[in-house]
Symmetry: C2
Subunit: 185 residues, 2 copies
């Protein structure tokens, strides 16, 4: 059994969005790839905003599934962090693309409101998870973890090399282990 047409539409649109943002996917392009007419896409998703929300929602829900899985399978916070980093590494090395919500967050100002809210939700969910599952003590660590991973994807894409991402992943592990509890001046 294969995917539904709606799923395939989301597949292709998501891929294009992760490459070039919200203004970089079109009904025509999607229709060419899957071999139907662009008018048919409107049957599944009446407007472009509707499709955009569906894409962001599926992406966030799938990501959340992985977060739940990690929490179930791994108890030790340091190893949970490694598994979390691996989610972003997968995006970079296998998909060779940005995190969808990272690509969208860079365009916050031009996103239709429903898509902006769904993108925001992705970041809130990730911060919540990091705060509870990895850094129960220091809330700022969740922020720098997510920020540096999103930035690392961006840098590895433009520099066309995995090294920036791996350096950040390595540093995050060190940050976790070595600076466990300190105070600022």
């Amino acid at each position: 059994m294969t995917n539904s047409t709606a799923d395939r539409i989301i597949d292709i649109a998501e891929s294009q969005m992760r490459s070039g943002g919200y203004n970089s996917f079109s009904f025509r392009e999607i229709s060419k790839v899957i071999g139907i007419k662009s008018a048919s896409i409107h049957y599944h998703f009446p407007t472009k905003t509707d499709l955009g929300v569906a894409i962001a929602n599926r992406y966030t829900e799938r990501f959340l599934e992985q977060l739940v899985l990690i929490k179930q399978e791994v108890a030790e916070p340091g190893e949970r962090l490694q598994r979390y980093i691996a989610l972003f590494r997968y995006a970079l090395e296998k998909d060779q693309k940005m995190c969808l919500c990272g690509a969208l967050a860079s365009e916050t100002d031009i996103l239709p409101e429903p898509i902006r809210l769904e993108t925001k939700r992705f970041f809130e969910i990730n911060l919540d998870w990091l705060n509870t599952a990895v850094f129960p003590d220091a809330p700022e660590k969740a922020t720098i973890t997510l920020a540096s991973l999103e930035g690392a994807l961006m840098m590895s894409k433009i520099l066309d090399h995995f090294e920036p991402f791996e350096q950040v992943g390595h540093r995050l592990a060190a940050l976790f282990e070595l600076c466990s509890e300190e105070k600022a001046p």
Copy 2:
């Protein structure tokens, strides 16, 4: 004396690019804002790619000027880092926009080649500067500094709050001061 038309074109296009990326600015929109016809813009910049390169180049050169200035005015690495962080804070709090090259790097795959290369140059220049002026000992720190600052802008934009950026800025300072020299397992 006021700016030249070419400068004003770049001003507006840069602003739109920083809000929504490369596919988010158009000759028509620019022409409306500055009160000339879109055909006139082609006199200054024959193609959209030409304009895009000019925008990225001016942005990078201006940023580089600031980096040189910091190096001249401040000797202490920790204070240099504070001044560096302030460049990004300015982008967020005064312009209320992404770093131009951060917005473009997220769209690496769809950028015309000359724009991609100019964007890449921005990151290379920043890493070079951080490595020589702030972290002469540990090269990976430059990467996590730039990555987390770009990611912090992205997060503060989508979460619509300065807190993520300030948390990252605070953490970077702590990273600099407290984990000055350690080894990983």
